[in-house]
């Protein structure tokens, strides 16, 4: 593991009687792209603002590049933290041109005119706005404003780059394109980044590591694949992907980390778990629709279960079926563009072995 670029330790923040951030600790390695993911009001933006110095933590410490910037009795103001930040509203100053906006961090730091111009032009070039410098900032489209905000955050070579839901005001197509560009740019510059969003698709695509927050706390953090496959709570499972989540009872532990469970509807399967699973315990069974497939009736496989098709939704590149599994609805995602099975058709449901997982009931 390379050097720690940003470390949060035991952060707490309350607004009035409401604690919005509770005991948040996090280490971000140099060059890492960390996405803080969570629903609105989970404390992710407040956490970001504390890193930026726009909010003062009630308790806890923050270090950037090894230097403590926030701790009891110590508070480095935002302008002295060497952080670049891209805001949700872009925060492009309407009374300045594109060039003036981007050059501003250099201007207030007293960088000479020639160097200022050189560096500003370089970074404008980097974000694909090479010739847009003299334009008034108000004449830009949403996507261009986003690039100006990014250029301004990059121009002073910050130690850390912060993003506060920067793509949420753009339309879907543009959002997807800028997401790719952003990731490529971060790879190229190697800048340590912390990115806040409520959009799991964005998080999964951008992140080296996702930190999921709920009600002011970090509930799980890990590689996107890990969060997807090994959600530790029902909340994470629901938030990362639209999974089948069924209340179930543990029947028996069959192997280390594996237990046999039965859903309320009566469906039985073996499922993985991290913590203990005692027989009789109520749990939630998580199965991803994309880990399942539908086979013709009578297909011989011990991973198959007889189901009836209840309905289907065509989703462009796949068909999402809802089938009755022991009478309870269950979603299956079948790739391809085959003609869908009509409701009432009998089929065999195959669940990829080892993919079912149990999480504690909340």
């Amino acid at each position: 593991m390379s050097a720690i670029k940003c470390a949060l330790q035991g952060l707490h923040k309350s607004f009035g009687p409401r604690e919005v951030v509770s005991d948040v600790s996090l280490s971000v390695a140099e060059g890492e792209f960390v996405v803080i993911l969570g629903p609105s009001g989970c404390g992710k933006t407040t956490t970001l603002c504390m890193i930026a110095g726009l909010e003062r933590p009630d308790r806890g410490a923050i270090a950037i590049d090894g230097a403590v910037v926030s701790a009891p009795g110590r508070f480095v103001r935002p302008e002295h933290r060497a952080i670049g930040m891209v805001f949700q509203s872009y925060a492009i100053w309407p009374h300045m041109t594109v060039f003036e906006n981007v050059a501003y961090p250099l201007r207030v730091r007293g960088v000479g005119m020639r160097e200022r111009r050189e560096r500003t032009e370089r970074v404008l070039d980097l974000v694909g706005l090479a010739n847009e410098g003299p334009r008034p900032a108000t004449a830009l489209s949403g996507g261009q404003m986003q690039r100006v905000a990014l250029a301004r955050a990059l121009v002073s070579d910050p130690a850390l780059l912060l993003f506060d839901e920067p793509l949420s005001n753009l339309d879907l197509k543009l959002r997807e394109r800028l997401r790719l560009e952003l990731k490529a740019l971060q790879r190229r510059t190697g800048l340590t980044s912390i990115y806040v969003t409520h959009d799991q698709a964005e998080a999964v695509e951008l992140a080296d590591r996702i930190v999921v927050m709920q009600a002011g706390r970090i509930v799980q953090s890990g590689r996107p694949q890990d969060l997807y496959r090994e959600p530790r709570t029902r909340f994470v499972a629901e938030f990362i992907a639209a999974a089948n989540i069924m209340p179930a009872i543990v029947l028996a532990a069959t192997a280390p980390g594996i237990a046999r469970v039965r859903t309320q509807a009566g469906f039985e399967t073996e499922a993985r778990h991290d913590t203990t699973a005692n027989p009789g315990e109520a749990v939630d069974l998580v199965i991803h629709p994309e880990d399942c497939t539908l086979l013709p009736p009578g297909a011989p496989s011990h991973h198959c279960h007889a189901v009836d098709v209840l309905g289907s939704r065509f989703q462009g590149t796949a068909t999402r079926y809802t089938v009755a599994l022991h009478g309870a609805p269950f979603d299956v995602l079948v790739l391809g563009t085959d003609e869908p099975l009509v409701p009432g058709t009998a089929a065999m449901l195959r669940i990829a072995p080892g993919r079912a997982r149990i999480v504690p009931t909340p």
């Binding site: 726009l54 670049g84 930040m85 925060a91 003036e100 010739n131 008034p136």
Partner: protein
């Protein structure tokens, strides 16, 4: 979220601001209230607590003229408010919601009287409609009309109130109508309601909160008003509270304590009304606020368009054209006595003599310089102070900012004449040499116009997204650099508006300064009022025109500055 929070001295700063505003605004009113319970002139530093008495209130309330005084003050204010509401709301509806010809122009016309100081308007109507020598009456007599106009009556005063205060109602109601979702009216049309029904059942009820709150505001302003009652009421033996307070101080010996008691009673009324107004304003109808992309389809007036347009522009004739012509006519005459149309039209009378006399008089010129100095001082001190206040209230989370907000709105409920009286008694006894200088007038004005200035600046500040400021901090700019390079340039329209307001309001103010000037610190509007009392109508007309011209130039200048938003900052570096 707010960088201002991290100011190390923030809390101390708020404390200092509160103290300053308390001295500026609360202290004078407190001294006046105290004085109303004393038997001798109140002193700010050494009170004679043993002399507490209710005698002043008894004397004021038991005085023979008190009932008619209260009746004419409240009655004229009420009638004036009703008239202003009718004119203002009708104009607003015509200009915003109908297809009346020239609706854009009407929108400009409707607010023009705001630039006519009440004192100047009163002079003009005195010239136009005084019972014997009024120009309109001479014309009426010449055409053999069986009646004459008399502006020196209850109706006359209420009329002047109504036409000069209609623009306040207009501004509120027009804004409310503009924000109104037009589909609400269209739905009523589709339900089978006609134009009149839609107006009565839908439009009017939706605009009611704005109409009510602006009417209450106008009512307060009219109760406080000094200039129009002093010029148009007194000659007809109609007495008003503000004028009465001035009279009491003018007695020998001055009845300071009775004046204070009367002032306190007036204050009780205005405070109650302002609280009511606040309630009405905060009960703004949320339903009427439409989302974006609304189409405003004007109400089709049909054959009524032209007569209604004539009525709308007739208002311009009444409040701007006619008075200006009257003032010009008097100012450009050699002899101000005339009784026939022939005498009115006599070209031999045309001359610039009055201007020559007025501005050849070093006293008049001195008062002009004094007024310019006071207004400039008020503008400079006020804009700095109220920028700091507005910024603290709206952009920081410092403790005490609510109190700061409250103190700056207080003067809405404090009549100018009471601020003047309070300043007189607080500073005449505090030995800092303030009394007798222009500074005391500047301070009184700075206090008096706190609400207007703060509101103008706050209006711009709250429109600046906090992230615009936060991003500057993250770019490495400190608090003051951010203020200078980001906040101030972006808040410029509000700052310029506040400067225009402070200058204009202080330049035309009369009542507040009545008790604060001495021989060396007389102001232009005070001199005008003085000349009018001595019957020098020609001089007054010339001075009124000059005052209006100065105000007009200043307002136009300010508006040009407001619009030019991109001129600030560094020259644009061109790439490549």
């Amino acid at each position: 979220m707010t960088p201002g929070r991290t100011l190390p001295l923030g809390t101390i700063g708020v404390g200092a601001l509160l103290l300053l505003l308390a001295v500026l605004i609360v202290l004078p009113v407190g001294v006046l209230l105290l004085g109303s319970f004393l038997s001798e002139a109140p002193r700010a530093l050494r009170f004679d607590w043993s002399g507490l008495t209710l005698a002043n209130y008894r004397d004021v309330l038991a005085a023979a003229g008190f009932a008619p005084l209260l009746a004419s003050t409240l009655g004229a204010a009420l009638a004036g408010t009703a008239g202003a509401a009718l004119i203002g709301a009708s104009l607003a509806w015509l200009a915003v919601r109908t297809d009346i010809p020239g609706r854009r122009a009407l929108d400009v016309v409707a607010v023009m009287p705001l630039f006519v100081p009440p004192l100047v308007g009163a002079f003009a109507w005195d010239i136009l409609a005084s019972p014997r020598s009024g120009i309109l009456n001479i014309v009426l007599r010449a055409v053999g009309a069986p009646f004459t106009l008399n502006i020196y009556t209850f109706g006359g005063v209420a009329y002047a109130y109504a036409i000069y205060y209609a623009p306040y109602i207009y501004l509120f109601v027009a804004a409310s109508l503009r924000n109104m979702d037009a589909t609400l009216e269209e739905a009523a049309f589709m339900s089978g309601a006609g134009r009149t029904k839609v107006l009565l059942h839908i439009t009017l009820p939706l605009a009611a909160p704005a109409l009510l709150s602006s009417s209450l505001l106008v009512f307060v302003l009219l109760i406080e008003l000094f200039a129009i009652p002093a010029v148009l009421g007194e000659p007809g033996n109609l007495h008003f509270m503000a004028v009465r307070i001035w009279d009491l101080i003018g007695f020998t010996p001055p009845q300071v304590n009775q004046a204070s008691a009367l002032g306190a009673l007036m204050l009780v009324m205005t405070v109650i009304l302002v609280v009511l107004q606040h309630k009405a304003a905060s009960r703004r109808n949320v339903v009427t606020v439409a989302g974006k992309g609304q189409r405003v389809r004007p109400v089709v007036l049909g054959a009524l368009r032209w007569p209604l347009a004539a009525l709308g522009f007739g208002y311009l004739l009444l409040v701007v054209v006619l008075p200006t012509v009257a003032l010009l006519f008097i100012a450009l005459r050699r002899n101000i006595f005339f009784s026939t149309i022939a005498a009115i039209l006599d070209p031999a009378q045309l001359s610039f003599e009055q201007f020559g006399i007025a501005f050849g008089d070093p006293v008049v010129v001195g008062t002009l310089w004094n007024s310019l100095a006071v207004s400039t001082g008020t503008m400079a001190a006020g804009v700095v102070l109220y920028f700091i206040v507005a910024y603290t209230v709206h952009r920081t989370r410092l403790p005490g900012r609510r109190a700061l907000d409250l103190v700056t709105v207080l003067p809405v409920a404090i009549p100018g004449i009471i601020i003047g009286l309070g300043y007189l008694w607080s500073w005449i006894s505090i030995p800092v040499g303030l009394y007798g200088t222009l500074w005391i007038i500047i301070l009184a004005y700075v206090s008096q116009f706190a609400p207007q200035a703060t509101r103008a600046i706050a209006g711009s500040l709250v429109q600046i997204h906090p992230e615009l400021e936060e991003s500057s901090r993250l770019c490495g700019a400190g608090f003051l650099t951010t203020l200078r390079l980001v906040v101030v340039p972006l808040a410029r329209p509000g700052i310029v508006s506040a400067m225009i307001l402070l200058f204009v309001l202080s330049f035309r103010e009369l009542a507040t300064a009545l008790f604060l000037y001495t021989s060396g610190t007389q102001l232009f509007s005070l001199a005008m009022f003085d000349f009018w009392q001595r019957g020098s109508t020609g001089l007054v007309a010339a001075m009124a025109l000059v005052q209006s011209l100065i105000l007009l130039v200043f307002v136009l200048l300010g508006q040009a500055l407001r619009r030019d938003r991109m001129a600030d900052g560094n020259p644009v570096p061109t790439a490549g």
